[in-house]
């Protein structure tokens, strides 16, 4: 069974500082990895994904993530945090070879708080 772990319930960072939101995963085959962001009382918005190719992927709003196969990690990063980045972030994984029954499994979410 596939799974995603987000070890931090909350991450606090000062505006202008770099931020990292951690994610590790487990799948049988090759992973498709995703990051989504959820603002209060809103649906999830797609940020970025890793399918294949370069391990460093860039996404919306200046976010990027690095796929590390040996550590089974896909940490989300941003060089300089903004107060407006404060939101709930979800990492998700799906098995690339699981066929039509393949489903997206989400982590438990990490609340990012960026303070002035």
């Amino acid at each position: 069974a596939q799974s995603v772990a987000q070890p931090e319930d909350q991450v606090n960072v000062a505006e202008g500082n770099p931020l990292t939101v951690k994610c590790t995963y487990s799948v049988s085959g090759n992973p498709y990895l995703f990051w989504y962001v959820q603002y209060p009382n809103r649906g999830l918005q797609f940020l970025l994904k890793y399918i294949t190719g370069d391990n460093l992927v860039k996404g919306s709003y200046g976010f990027e993530a690095e796929f590390n196969k040996s550590q089974t990690s896909f940490h989300l990063k941003k060089p300089s945090a903004l107060v407006s980045d404060s939101a709930l972030y979800f990492c998700a994984v799906r098995d690339a070879i699981a066929g039509t029954a393949s489903k997206l499994t989400f982590g438990t979410g990490t609340q990012l708080k960026v303070e002035l």
Binding site: Y32, F34, Y36, Q38, N41, R42, G43, L44, Q45, F46, K49, I51, T52, L88, F90, A96, A98, G99, T100, A101, S102, K103, L104, T105, F106, T108, G109
Partner: protein, 114 residues
């Protein structure tokens, strides 16, 4: 134009009632999903349809019945509502099943059962 829309946005009802939530996507996607987000923000898939065919049916009580009249619509009907059904329900869509394509989420329907 709203890509994935859900109605209603809020639903407050009493235990034992039957209610429906509607979802529509105008993205031309083949695959649609229902997710449940509980009070701790944990997100779990309930159902998935591909071109009106049910392809994922998680361990969800039989009181929940999805219906897809066409590939742009996926509705969720819930019978005999229970307190534990209180949650936010999200509809989502993606271009095709079993791919690396991202999913597009609707704004959610907050269901409160009293």
């Amino acid at each position: 134009d709203t890509a994935v829309s859900q109605t209603p946005k809020y639903l407050v009802t009493q235990m034992g009632n039957d209610k429906s939530i509607k979802c529509e996507q105008n993205l031309g996607h083949d695959t649609m999903y229902w997710y449940k987000q509980d009070s701790k923000k944990f997100l779990k898939i309930m159902f998935s349809y591909n071109n009106k065919e049910l392809i994922i049916n998680e361990t969800v009580p039989n009181r929940f019945s999805p219906k897809s009249p066409d590939k742009a619509h996926l509705n969720l009907h819930i019978n005999s509502l229970e307190l534990g059904d209180s949650a936010v329900y999200f509809c989502a869509s993606s271009p095709r099943v079993a791919s690396g394509a991202e999913q597009y989420f609707g704004p959610g329907t907050r269901l409160t059962v009293t």
